[in-house]
Subunit: 125 residues, 2 copies
DNA sequence: TAGTAATATAAGTATTTACTAATATAACTG
DNA sequence: CAGTTATATTAGTAAATACTTATATTACTA
């Protein structure tokens, strides 16, 4: 019950004098599918460990195996594996098997994303 | 103590026969400040509520006040305020006071970000 | 085949997060 | 001024998260 601050019949005294919840501008609906897809990408990348993993994969010239990443981010093998798995399902990294090794690489999406982040950071300096 | 799987002197039998943790490519260090800044943005946006707020602010023609956003995302006034506050400190929204109202708008960074997300989603269809 | 290495999965847990309700603050209004 | 409205802040909490350890799986190797 998140009401309790508007018991009277909402005779809104909004800034522009309009009624209901239209104090400013009508707020359009948004695409629910887009939300889900985008938030998956954003939350996958919005964590130090996973972000670092992606940056390291991006920085490497070729695809990278888990063994290397493990020592790089300082958490357990299991933790790295889980992190990579999540990045993979978010579509941020590719994976390829070769013998006992698993090689991870960046997807185009992720590359584009990192570029945007670099852009933003560059303009904010 | 996240070791325990490499007790012997790491006489690595890596894919390319190289030593230490260089099975693939040397993995360069990454910029710690960039990590912090980027993860702040990503994690701020990587949550349904906050993402929706940003999308709605983006979709509105003018700046938006909290009262409108509240009904849009379906959480309490307090929750919205906290979400906006976090988005603000991540540099994703602007805020401006006008009488009792607070108007929120998109920053350039956020706009660029949303564009990239739209791009990515568009190419993945 | 048994043994070992690379990675994944499962189960458990401390920490973090995203809320809610209650209260505070600040500005407008009679 | 007292009352009300818009928003922020605080405190508390259920649920989610990011790990850990232990175990399973898969592939290579002697």
């Amino acid at each position: 019950m998140s009401e309790g601050y508007s018991e009277t019949e909402s005779q809104s005294s909004r800034p522009d004098g309009s009624a209901e919840n239209a104090c400013c501008t009508a707020i359009p609906e948004i695409d629910e599918e887009a939300v889900v897809a985008d938030v998956q990408i954003l939350s996958a990348l919005g964590n130090d460990t996973r972000y670092e993993l992606v940056r390291r994969i991006a920085a490497a010239e070729d695809d990278v195996c888990v063994c290397d990443l493990e020592s790089a981010v300082g958490i357990s093998q299991s933790g790295v594996s889980q992190a990579l798995s999540r990045l993979y399902s978010a579509g941020l990294i590719t994976r390829r098997k070769e013998g006992s090794w698993r090689y991870y690489g960046l997807t185009e999406d992720a590359a584009q994303f990192l570029d945007t982040l670099d852009d933003i950071r560059a303009t904010n300096e």
